[in-house]
Symmetry: C2
Subunit: 345 residues, 2 copies
Amino acid sequence: MTTLKQVAAHAEVSVQTVSNALNAPHRLRPDTLARVTRSIELLNYRPNRNARSLRTSAVELIGYCVPTWPGDQVHLVMDQFLHAMCSAAEASSRHILLFTAPAGLDGMAVYDDLHARRLVDGFVLSQTETHDPRHTWLAEREIPFASFGRVWGEQTQPGYWVDVDGATGCATAVRHLHETGRRRIGLLSWPRLSGLAEDRLSGWRSACKVLRLPTGGLAVRCRQDTIDEGASGAAKLLDADQPVDAIVAISDMLALGAMSEIARRGLTVGVDVAVTGFDDSPLAAVVSPGLTSVSQPLDEIADALIRQLCDGEREPAGRLLEPQLVVRGSSAPADTGNTAGGKPS
Amino acid sequence: MTTLKQVAAHAEVSVQTVSNALNAPHRLRPDTLARVTRSIELLNYRPNRNARSLRTSAVELIGYCVPTWPGDQVHLVMDQFLHAMCSAAEASSRHILLFTAPAGLDGMAVYDDLHARRLVDGFVLSQTETHDPRHTWLAEREIPFASFGRVWGEQTQPGYWVDVDGATGCATAVRHLHETGRRRIGLLSWPRLSGLAEDRLSGWRSACKVLRLPTGGLAVRCRQDTIDEGASGAAKLLDADQPVDAIVAISDMLALGAMSEIARRGLTVGVDVAVTGFDDSPLAAVVSPGLTSVSQPLDEIADALIRQLCDGEREPAGRLLEPQLVVRGSSAPADTGNTAGGKPS
DNA sequence: GCCGATGATTTTAACGTTCTAACCGCTGTC
DNA sequence: GACAGCGGTTAGAACGTTAAAATCATCGGC
């Protein structure tokens, strides 16, 4: 392995000059810079990150706790979010270090350890929960972090956060369904303690109010984020005295359940009943018909988180980003040339 | 931040003794060890990993390139594999460092750089492809790595690998279907250049031969790993003169497509036509009926990879692990109490 | 031609750890 | 009584880098 010293010898300058060539090239006379650069390339020199970090006490690594979901639940956009994070980190010449930790306060020892041992400079949090204790814990110890997601149920939230406006997302879905002629729009959501669910629900409710659409009895709470739960939730909406002609689901998983329930009854998704999901997971594109879904700007989110963490832009609180509705066959069959048969007799 | 020096002062020993207390406690007299340990705890000392790594030139980090899939394709077990890797790494007091790189040889500069800059000790490769150039490249440069997946199409493969026996997996699925009374078992696979696909296909074919089941015209190649492709593949098998009564899919995605195609035709999955998938992705458990699928022992795989990489167990070549069939309603409706209606008069 | 200012480069001293060799006190051997 | 051996401990150097201070050369102004 080549070191600074060897490069310095080769270029006939001091070690510090080589270091400057890399970290502060403007300090060198053009000709020496050229000479040093040539030597660096010739010897294929790469700075040793450990020595650098020891000296500067910055490791340029960001910790991210790999999320676990209870039971059968799936993180469908995990790939995409991780990829976005990696790319964003690399754009700031950082990297992501993965680790596992128990949920809640129990896990904080792990965070503390990683930071104290200098394995990471800071953390990106995701999967924030109602009354999530991590933010306060980290802030009290002055450990840098940035959060994807708000801590629901608190007045103020320590530290920087980025989140997607779930209410707007669902409201957009409702308006889209209204524009395509739907007049009775049900909602599939989760139990009441999920701040995420309440946020998205509120968007559905307010959009319906504005458009003078009914909401009474049209919000069903599914126990889990599974296809099965989505299907039985949809069944309730379809069995009602006045059945719905559209279903807004606050997740793609629930939406998939709704789609399968609709198909099971011999109805055609997108024709008889429209469905929208949330997350625009890869599955939304590959099911048939395609699932209209609210897409989160994951690249932008990752960018904001990493930039805040690295370049230390001191933004006061957080940023709420606008999601985007991706329309597919489940809500607009004409556009996608959906020719689904399968409707018996 | 507490350092060794401060602990040493507190315990009234030399710096080296504190270091020994942590790295070679057997060298200390029990009473000094106790004294030092008490000081360490009292001062809440954590060794600085950068200094340690600089000295020992081992960073205890393992690089993993976050996989990208062409087009709409999804890595459904990504969460699980990453989690398994993290856990395995932590069991050997390592961590996973994520990065992105272009596919094939183009990406090798990134691997080289990470290694040369001492950001990682070695790599875990996944998503191995036919004639994958990475293995040879890394081996030539003596950069440590371990591969999840074989390099198809080569005589010998440099470096250590772990893989799952796809042939056995599919053969098990075929036998299971045969035991439950199926006699005409179709296969959904991918284009011929995928080694993975050929491996799994061979298991289906050989099991069918042994059981004297037909195979001619019963293997359909889907262009992509999507639900849509699976559905149209299944359609071919169901439209044949002698339609199949079971479908073995070499991925859960194709299996999901098959399930939806079967349902679309008013047939009942698991009753009229049985379906099996591969990977036992989280979706397999949450669709209705549940999807019988071949499960890869991800924890064991991750363990083997990490152990090989860290503890440097010099195994000659690689290990082929046995997958396990997880039976659900799509192939054994009785067991799961599947009461699906929806079969139109 | 001296002085201070400016710019380019080098010297010195860390950063916090571990490795190597040396040291110390004790025991047992010849 | 000299000496080897041993367990326990420590001093000194090294790992490869960068920050801060010091040095040296150059130059314009008076």
